[in-house]
């Protein structure tokens, strides 16, 4: 399997503070890669660098075959991104949001119209096409935001804590969407706080104080730490953390 993300000795410093400390890993095509870590461990900083939103202080990485230092624009055209905050335009209608972001990623009008109807049907949102996003329940918004992030068929989609504040039923549905996406060959790079979600990932990495302390399949991780819950393993690793918060 080809690697979609390759990270080599990536480091990010803010003044004297080393937010990301010399990390390396690879992510394969179509993989669901869980990126765990406590608050302030440096997860968001890594995602921001991989998306071309922030420049690394040292080291390098490629995403979808493009260099994050010099080809950030090509990377941006080939990824989808869903940030921590729910972020679609609340004062735009459902179809207007889809059309806006699809247009930004250079999709053709005809394709957008066609795909919008398919998407809304898949999500069961047919009746909400003309609804303002602000009128949707939070869980629906999250699903819509995710669908918009993969609407232009990117090679990788970065999800930064996509299920924060959502009830278990919707989280379950959300993960079904993630599986479907991975089946299409889109690589999913996801950070989460919920350890049960880590079990759904193909591989998980655990970040502590800017370094990656563990990177295995959930099964191998449990064997290695002789524990049957990722939650325990995470706690074992994270309690040594010096940083407490962002």
């Amino acid at each position: 399997m080809e690697n979609v993300i390759v990270v080599n000795n990536l480091t990010k410093k803010f003044g004297h503070f080393t937010a990301v400390d010399n990390i390396s890993f690879e992510v394969k095509k179509g993989e669901i890669f869980g990126f765990l870590g406590a608050n302030g461990a440096g997860k968001t900083t890594v995602i921001r660098m991989l998306c071309g939103l922030s420049r690394p202080s040292a080291g390098n990485a490629t995403v979808a075959g493009f260099d994050i230092r010099h080809q950030s624009e090509k990377i941006k055209a080939n990824i989808g991104y869903m940030s921590q905050k729910f972020s679609l335009y609340e004062d735009l209608k459902v179809w207007e949001n889809i059309k806006l972001f699809a247009g930004i990623y250079g999709m053709k009008k005809k394709d957008i119209a066609l795909k919008t109807d398919i998407l809304l049907e898949e999500l069961g949102f047919q009746d909400e096409k003309q609804t303002l996003v602000s009128a949707l329940p939070l869980g629906w918004k999250q699903k819509l935001a995710f669908s918009v992030a993969i609407f232009h068929n990117p090679k990788v989609v970065f999800l930064d804590e996509p299920t924060g504040g959502v009830d278990p039923v919707v989280r379950r549905q959300f993960w079904e969407l993630i599986y479907k996406t991975a089946e299409k060959g889109i690589t999913v790079f996801v950070t989460t706080h919920y350890m049960d979600e880590a079990e759904y990932c193909d591989r998980v990495s655990i970040m502590v104080d800017g370094r990656i302390e563990a990177l295995e399949t959930p099964k191998a991780l449990k064997e290695k730490f002789a524990s049957n819950s990722i939650d325990d393993i995470f706690y074992q690793l994270a309690r040594n953390a010096k940083r407490t918060d962002d």
């Binding site: 939103l53 941006k76 991104y81 940030s83 921590q84 905050k85 004062d91 735009l92 972001f101 990623y105």
Partner: protein, 368 residues
């Protein structure tokens, strides 16, 4: 170009769907025009005046008649003694009292000197000064017309002649002021709030992670406010020219250039504020305290800059509104050639360059 239009259209939708934004950008300018035009007026009209006439001869009578006929004064009180005057001020029955001494005509004819006293309410010094000068003007012209003016005293009575604004219409003053204020409001405050809103809601992050160049994101966010500011300016011009009778004496080309330059300065201020502020509230507070209030108070719109304390005069120089208002007054009302406003143009151009420079640097730093 295509994504440019997409973004601009989206921005217009944000504006049209937000009732408060619509109110501020469309209704507020008209409200301000009406307020300043008809309510907060510094003109004198229908002022009540009282008279205490110890002579009651034909000259005093004709002076009183003239005063009564003038559009500025209405005779409300005729006093019989000096003691009645102060209570009348306290009861707000009149804002001005004229007292004629005894034997006014005779003294004037024989002694070439007669006593006249004008009493005004000094608690409002600005209007008191104006009222006194109006009243003395009327007295002077009446005496001159009656040809009774004593050579020695009344020939040197200064006759007031106000260039460019002979009727002392305050609209000549406030129209440039309202323009200066509205543009700062729409371009600096509304723009900064709308950019910061995207930061706060997280959509800015989404846009930055897309292939769209940051410069296109910002410029397309700003364009709708540019267009709205133009519409506001044109509305103000139309209302002031056709309804309030404010003249447009200078070259339309240079007036438009000036307005566009000032709009650009204000927009760049909005962008600068948005790079500094993290929340909409912060953007609102910064624009209100650093821009709106000084633009209102220190721009020369309400108070004369020359008579302010030095430190305030210094702050006033840093206000784009001050330079704009000064230039638009000269161009529009005095109708001067553009070479007389080069310093205003230069100041605005320097401000534009500096502000854009700082915003670019702050923006890049944030990206690092």
């Amino acid at each position: 170009m295509k994504e440019f239009l997409t973004f601009t259209k989206k921005e217009f939708i944000h504006i049209f769907r937000d009732t408060w934004t619509m109110m501020i950008i469309l209704v507020l300018p008209l409200v301000m025009m009406v307020l300043f035009g008809y309510a907060v007026t510094t003109e004198i009209g229908n002022t009540n005046i009282g008279v205490l006439d110890y002579s009651k001869d034909e000259i005093t009578k004709s002076i009183i008649n003239r005063i009564q006929e003038s559009e500025y004064f209405t005779l409300s009180n005729s006093f019989n003694s000096y003691q009645e005057i102060e209570p009348s001020f306290k009861a707000s029955e009149n804002s001005l009292v004229i007292v004629f001494g005894e034997n006014f005509s005779e003294n004037l004819l024989h002694l070439k000197k007669a006593d006249i006293q004008i009493i005004a309410d000094g608690s409002d010094p600005n209007s008191a000064r104006t009222l006194v000068s109006y009243a003395s003007n009327i007295i002077g012209t009446t005496l001159k017309d009656l040809n009774k003016a004593p050579v020695s005293s009344y020939e040197i009575t200064p006759e007031l002649k106000l260039l460019y604004n002979p009727l002392m219409k305050s609209s000549y003053n406030f129209v440039p002021g309202v323009m200066g204020f509205i543009i700062i409001l729409v371009c600096a405050m509304m723009t900064s709030i709308s950019i910061v809103r995207e930061k706060e809601k997280g959509t800015m992050e989404l846009l930055l992670a897309s292939p769209t160049k940051p410069i296109i994101i910002i410029v397309s966010k700003v364009i709708p406010y540019f267009i709205i500011a133009l519409i506001n300016i044109i509305t103000i011009f139309i209302v002031s020219y056709f309804i309030m009778g404010v003249p447009i004496n200078g070259s339309l080309f240079w007036i438009s250039t000036l307005c566009i330059l000032y709009i650009l300065v204000s927009l760049s201020l909005g962008i600068l504020i948005s790079t500094v502020a993290d929340t909409q509230l912060m953007a609102l507070v910064i624009s209100a305290i650093i821009l709106l209030m000084p633009s209102m108070l220190l721009s020369g719109m309400l108070f004369d800059i020359g008579s302010m304390p030095l430190i305030l005069q210094g702050i006033a120089q840093a206000m784009p509104a001050k330079w704009f208002i000064s230039a638009i007054r000269k161009l529009m009302i005095m109708g001067v050639d553009v070479r007389y406003v080069w310093s205003e143009f230069l100041a605005l151009i320097i401000m534009l360059t500096v502000i854009i420079g700082i915003s670019l640097r702050t923006f890049k730093k944030r990206m690092e």
